[in-house]
């Protein structure tokens, strides 16, 4: 039985998703909250869900801040962000904060369920808009790179940790996404399965999170005692 939690302040949306998930086989959805704070309080009493659907705009602490705290205290919890519209900037911020995926709220209930499954199977999805931001973040060059870019690239490599750099495979996937290839095309091209593509994407998100984490560690302490 997989436990799904929902943090969403719109009662109707929250209740609908909850009821729908609760009706699915192998899913339980009893932890629902309208803000991060009560959710955190509950987590500390060891009710750890497997996946959390979390809204970004919340009263009090916003979803991105909340996610940083949750991920640093309970790294095993997977979080999928819910967002009203396709704001790639905020989606990227939430990925940096540790999200395993994101969903537009008007996604159909069926698709919401499928996304949860993807995440539970260790995968994630990525759109070209996000892929381009990932490239910017890891300073990769999708096309030809000028001399200056190369220098910047090597300078940044020196500064960053080996574990948090993208592998060749991961770079290939991100660049493929920017070029508009579908998962299937990427999978075919690299002779790997669709699930492997999704697993690579999840890994990329993890690296994003690791790279943006230094500050979070200190904040997590704060979350408990601040």
């Amino acid at each position: 039985m997989k436990k799904i939690a929902i943090v969403e302040d719109n009662t109707t949306i929250r209740t609908l998703i909850q009821k729908f998930i609760a009706k699915q086989e192998n899913y339980a959805c009893t932890q629902v909250y309208d803000a991060v704070e009560p959710f955190l309080a509950d987590l500390k009493q060891q009710h750890l869900p497997d996946v959390v659907l979390m809204d970004i705009d919340l009263p009090g602490m916003n979803g991105i801040e909340g996610m940083k705290l949750i991920k640093s205290n309970f790294p095993s919890v997977e979080i999928i962000m819910l967002t009203v519209y396709h704001d790639s900037h905020r989606i990227f911020d939430s990925l940096c904060a540790g999200a395993s995926g994101y969903l537009l709220k008007h996604t159909s209930l069926q698709e919401i369920k499928e996304s949860i499954e993807v995440v539970l199977n260790g995968g994630s999805v990525m759109s070209p808009q996000i892929a381009r931001k990932v490239i910017g973040y890891f300073a990769m060059q999708p096309n030809s790179s000028t001399e200056i870019n190369k220098q910047q690239k090597s300078a940044e490599k020196i500064n960053s940790n080996q574990d948090s750099e993208l592998t060749m495979r991961e770079q290939e996937i991100v660049i493929g996404l920017v070029d508009g290839l579908s998962y299937k095309m990427i999978a075919d091209r690299m002779t790997i399965s669709l699930d492997t593509v999704r697993a690579h994407i999840r890994n990329i998100y993890k690296k994003l999170h690791v790279n943006s984490k230094a500050e979070v560690i200190a904040k997590s302490l704060r979350g408990e005692i601040g």
Binding site: N10, S108, L109, R132, G180, S182
Partner: protein
Amino acid sequence: MIKHRLFFYFAFTIGLVISAFGQTIPTKMISLDNGLSQSVVKAILQDNNGYLWFGTEYGLNKYDGKKNEAYYKHHGLSSNEITCLQKDAFGTLWIGTSKGLTLRLNDKFVIFEGTDSLLNAPVNTVAFAKDGSVWIGTEGDGIWIYNGDIFDRWNVDNGLSSDSVRSILFLENGAIWIGTRNGINIFNGSGFKIIQDKQGLTDNKVRSLLQIDNQTIWAGTRDGITEFKFDKPLYRVKAYRTTDNLPDNKITNLFLDDQQRVWVTTENGIAVWENNKFEAFGTQNGLEASYFYTTYEDFEGTIWLASYGSGAVQFLGEKFVNWTTDDGLSNSVVSSVFKDSKEKVWIGTYGGGIDLIAKSKKIKNISMKSGHLPDDKIYHIVESIDHKIWVGTRHGIVSLNENLTPANTETIQLLPKLKYRFLLQENDSNWWFATEDEGIFHLEKNQIKQFTVDNGLVSNSTRVLLKHTNGDLFIGTTNGLSILRKGEFLNFTLQNGLVNQVILDMIETDDGSVWFTHYQGISKISLDGQIEHIDFEFRGEPQASYLIREFNGYLWVGTNKGLVQIKLDEKNPHRKLYTSTMGLVNDELNKGSIYIDSENYFWLGTVNGLTRFKPKFIQDKKNRIPLYFEEIEVTGKTIESRKIIELPFKDNYFSISFAALSYIDASTMQYKYRLKGVDIGWQNTYQSKIRYAGLTEGEYEFQVKAIDNNGVESKQISQMIHVLPPFWRSSWFLFLMASIVLSIAYLVLNNIRISKMVETERIRVRIASDLHDDIGASLTEIALQADFIQAMTADEDSKVTLQELAEQSRKVVTTMDDIVWSIDARNDTLGDLTDRIQDYANKMASKKEIIVNYHFTGIQSEKKIHSDLRQNVYLICKEAINNTIKYAQADLISIDLIFENGLYSLLISDNGIGLENLTKKTGHGLKNIKERATRLGGKLSFESKNGLMIQVKGFHL
């Protein structure tokens, strides 16, 4: 009751854990890693331009706070081994080496010719007499005295007790003290008076002489310090050795700092003489080396030590002393710190119980294990009026006697085992407790009363309490502030004036107002409920503030970026920041974790250790920090500095970088700059590089000032920049005038137009996102409801209807999403557009298993394009994709955006049934495409051969 007895039992059987307790002196080392030529530093000096010079056994180094520039013999030094550094009244550097002297004149090295003998002599010391003469003490060659004209020499032949001279001291009364390897020689106008061990000198090998005041001279020797006191007709002699707390008897140098403290360097550690006693520091306190040659104090009051093997060491321990888990702390998170009336320091940690430091400097830990505490996570430690220590933990409160036995056990028993964040004693029998989740408790004469949201409290998650002198109780919670006034709660939240709702610490100031800290800085609430906020940003990020105290006319605020000191009575208060770079153990302080003791020491708990800090030590030096231009780049190329920089009209993109020479923490340096004629007023920044582009022809002056951490402004420096007019224009003066008038008019009009556009844009964005948020949420609800009923119902007809309902609602949300996207200025590049097209096409195509190919040729993804154009291209694509997917029965779509010869063209083609076979339904879609193509200014054409191809050609973006 049983539990209670058990508690007692443990307390007396297990005993206390006692371990050695060190402390760490923060230092910063400048050595090989920083480009120092060698790690044995023998001399340090700051020149009048602010640069620090480090003389090593191999090479001389000039340091600007970031990098060292090394100089050797081939640069003009008389030897690579530097022995001493001095500067004269004109600021000229005198560089003593193992082989003669070198001067630094006009940025060049000049060997001091002097005499043949001096050219080869190792120089030990250089001193400047009042009459302007230079005294050069050598090793084995006596003293050379140069008065600007002739050389004179003193050596054993004149009666000096040794030819090896280590130190020369000129006194007010005209006497000259000369320290040699064989005693001190005092010259009083006619002959030498020699002081040696027989006269009370601790050792004949004298290494340093220092005048401390009119009556006191110290001589540092190879066997301790000899003090000469002239308070009586006959001087008195006194010796200081390791028995007086010196770390070693082999003294290398004595140095008097700005605050009359004497710094003693020895062959095994250093000592500071203050308040008539030595405090010693060595490797056991974290010093990088044990052998030090000399001490130096720079313009900012920072103490530098010249070390054997570890380069130049910036000594920060005069202000900060640190403890971490390496020094014996039980846990790195210090959540509460407190010094009791018996001078015992209680360090509450979050996970390791409480560490105690008594005067013995031994650490003692009490914890759950030792039976003293109900939990090892401590929130708050206070001393009650009757001198019991009360501790709030994550699992109840405990009260302890001085000998650590439980006190007030019956009262404590009454209190539920909750998380106690804050304890406040109002009077003998009257306490208030703030709990994590259960509101506040009031204990009065062993009666307990709880207050929660049901009684009007703003939140049950309480964090901090303050008893105001007027009787009000202030309660800080994670959801705002409550004031309990005459039995009623007054509540303040985001809705009525707070900028952040998580209140972390509070203090009352003299005027009766209460300052409180929160995640976005600090705010003040006056007695009539007026709230003021101090904007708390450092380098553009808000500083979460965890603690606040008032001390000595300043507010002291602990943040996640260091400790901030703010002068209260200024209108735009300057904020001084103390960071880990300056010696704090960590930049992030903990909530309320501060105690200011009777000696004015600040004890500060951080997320990684404890710092003891004494602010009075930090002298607000009014020396002006030197400021320089570092580099000027024109269209990406560094150009040589010159008085006036002339830029061609065509490519006048330039950047200018500058640096203030600060050796404390360059990141706290602020700058003010303006380009006269362009910037209106001074611009504030932490950046040290400013860029300008597209300047119109004319003469500009770039001015910049630095403001150091003490709020002192540097001298202003400036650079002239002339942007040249195009040659064909300069000859026609009238034309030039006319064009200037026109361009000014244009600028003014343009400014008005732009500000209007910005305003309209802002309104547009706001309306669109409001619409989207409200209606979007409602439509989403409808869609999800339809989904839900659809999943629950069995009736096929209803299913179809419900699906249509859901789809329709989602379509509207998506359309609104498109609108919000297209007017969001952050999405203004071509890359954003192509991404969006791909996102949409992939999403639509994946449902029908259609393959989409993209060809973006010649597209610069960083190019900015106007929102209208962006929207038109996107909507053409969207319309075309929709048509194809719905009607064309294609399995391949190709979307091409091509930039060629300065023009764009868009091609969307599929392998479907083509235009002829399409039904009327698509007519509207094609009409839309036509309209949008016209708006783009492109030429639209359809071609229907093996599918449909839509082309929009020749438009600009």
